[in-house]
Symmetry: D2
């Protein structure tokens, strides 16, 4: 059971996003005999099965919906969460900077609601793997459910424990820490990462960044970059093209670096 249908029409088992407005989605899997119910009316799954993707469909109350294949954006905005999850703008940049692609092995901690976990699992594909650590059991359970909903459970191993004693993996390609105190685990990151591998973290305050930079320097990380991404939406109106009035001003600063192995100067050797 994969994410995207490959047919032109929706089939039983397909993941469907029913959009009532541009930003309001309902995401579920089609089942024969199933029913989709909201206060805006009922739509029978059997009426969707065999319908072309992208079609406007109408509930028994006359409300109009579009039947779409859910993309990453819709998945993220629909993820059940107990915690703030990461924004697509930041995740997209992390993929580029940390080289997350089919075949990549990556550790993440903490799992949280599994927003990032889903995207990582999708991107590393069957040849790659995600190892996801989290201390709070209820979070791991929620994340596991979110990942299963997308049929990506084979790409992820969840660990329900602290990372203080280190990770169980060695030589992974990448480690991402989404924790308030990543500076306390830089040694553990170094032990799990392949030398020259990709380390990343997202932090909201400059104070945290300063602490992390100090630890990364102490532990021989190079190629250190700190960035922030600002995303501005525009009114999609041809006659009144302009930015929208308000925007998210800050999600976090992204920090990246790679542990290196320094050459030992000969004269320093005994």
């Amino acid at each position: 059971m994969t994410w995207l249908s490959t047919g032109e029409t929706a089939a039983p088992g397909d993941l469907v996003a029913l959009a009532s407005t541009k930003t309001n989605y309902f995401i579920f899997r089609l089942e024969e005999g199933g029913k989709f119910e909201t206060h805006r009316g009922i739509i029978r799954h059997d009426d969707l099965i065999g319908t072309k993707w992208g079609s406007e469909v109408v509930s028994h109350k006359g409300s109009s919906f579009y039947m779409l294949q859910p993309g990453i954006y819709e998945i993220l905005s629909n993820t059940k969460r107990n915690t703030q999850i990461m924004y697509p703008k930041d995740i997209g940049f992390i993929l580029m900077k940390m080289n997350i692609a089919p075949g990549t092995t990556i550790i993440e901690a903490g799992t949280g609601s599994g927003g990032l976990t889903q995207i990582l699992a999708l991107m590393v594909g069957k040849e790659g793997h995600v190892y996801s650590y989290e201390r709070r059991e209820e979070m791991t359970n929620l994340a596991r459910k979110n990942v299963q909903k997308l049929g990506l459970q084979d790409q992820v191993t969840f660990y329900n424990r602290s990372i203080e004693d280190g990770f169980e993996q060695k030589n992974v390609d990448a480690v991402f820490l989404d924790l308030p105190n990543p500076y306390d685990y830089v040694q553990q990151v170094r032990d799990a990462l392949i030398p020259g591998g990709q380390f990343g973290s997202l932090l909201p305050t400059t104070n945290q960044i300063v602490k992390l930079l100090l630890e990364m320097r102490r532990m021989d990380f190079e190629f250190v970059d700190v960035v922030e991404l600002m995303l501005r939406f525009y009114q999609a109106e041809a006659e009144k093209f302009r930015p929208v009035d308000r925007m998210v001003a800050h999600t976090g600063y992204l920090v990246f670096g790679r542990p290196i192995l320094r050459a030992v100067c000969e004269e320093e050797q005994p």
Copy 2:
């Protein structure tokens, strides 16, 4: 011959990034007996083979380099180009918004130097495919070389022709136009895209955006979004943490939309 080595040490055939500074990379494949030569000295491939990734290595002139596995970022900054290529910040967001992942089929036009082509080919993996259209033969040739260098040629089909008469594919998941006049090809996009599929484009001027929005509205695209991403780098110094002095102010506006099939109202039927 894949992108990333899976071993802890470099082996013949591995793609290597030798970094002399944080932003200066030399990317090549290791061959037994090979030689890497710059004005900063010579390094024999045989001295790199068997060396741990992330190691500092020293040329015969005493210059220091780090041997890294090249990530997407380094690949992009090292892509041979005759044209401006897209920025990682924009590509990362496109992946998220257009749902580019293992298994996706996507058309892009024009190919240009193949910067975006490489990343798309990497991301869609073996189950997906990239169809890349370009009128200028020398650009197609350059892009093909860039894709081959990464061992991703099986994921891409290049077409060396105009798109005025349409694309050869039907029902692809996504179409991306990196052309100055995408508004002239919206019908062709609609014909190639699966209904509800993902259309995207990158344009530098507001005048182009306005024209494209008009065409997209006329051709029944919905879920239209226009955004811009601003990327700001920070000085990675713990004691003087601050943004760097200058930044890229503009690469382009990103436009996204999905062609939909409107319900036909019963009273409108004959």
Copy 3:
């Protein structure tokens, strides 16, 4: 009756800002026997008279306020308005770019609620003057009241009429148009401005900018600049220093230019 008191303590006739929180101000003039009343309690003016500026004062219900001399920021956020008024970030930049200072003569249209009018009147001082045009009578009346409240009425002449037939002034130093269609009045601006003088406008959409740029070019304006200012607030917490979560993404694009007199080439002369 001027804006700022010159004494260390508040005196009758002084303009006072009573702040209950960082962004909630009550602005009024002190009168002997006067009373300030809110749902948070009553404060007698006589208790404020003779009190040092910057003092915390407490209402009869125990609510705490700070008694401050109102600055431009507080004045603007407290201006009675029927329309959107300009933001301090934009006004500050306009002052710099258009050279608004003591002695400047400036025309503005339309007056609106008089937010900009107040600041211009303050800045040009007694040696300068503001000529403010507005078609809607109720707006002129509101703006006049706002200006009088600050004791700046001698610096402003209000005109309650359309600018289609031009302005009554010649050779003013600057003209600012805060109208949706400034491109319809560029000839009128040219007629009123001293050659080489400063023209400015604020417009929300790119479509308006494009129209205005065309007119300015046609009418021999040079030194044309278009800018936008993004203002980001930070959490003022030493231990958690970071941008606030949300911000204003757009107020408008600012356009500036100066009408010039081209040299007549000798061969073109009869």
Copy 4:
């Protein structure tokens, strides 16, 4: 001898900006018999005297210039400097936030090249005053010359000494510190400011901000705001309206606050 001429034509003693391009200005005062010489040719002052402002004038070599009255923008970009001077975007906002207007008394330290000093002197007018402190004698001399060139010397008193022992003024309306270590002088600021008055500072790093915020809290400053302003220039072309490619990413963070006098609770009194 004031800044701006009041006539339509240039007269002896007027300050003139000869612009060869949009960003290249020569600023000088007209004198009978004077000569303006560059590698682009000579223009005699006598040919400018009596010429209308905004006119295109041509050197003996055929190079074209526009004769303008210099605005604040041109003055700042033309200020002789040994140090980085503040940007108009930041100065404009400081005026708004700190209520700098005709009649304001303000202390600034350090003077530097006098870029900010000039604008403050201009804005406070004859009823206000600027007290400008600087340790380095050569900077004070340079700033004094810059201020004199604009005829604003009566509005400024320069002090050539450290501010460690405090300022000579009491009850000024505003204090602005343009120093790397403002956090060392918060007591001195408090002693010189009228209670409730305006304090401001510009600092490039977050580390400095954090230190300053701690001191301001310790010394009972309220209404504390930290902001940054990003200024983006657009290509002023109607057919290709878009942001320019690159921009200044950071000049500094602006910090503002007002010292207050807390109410003494009755039960705390003896």
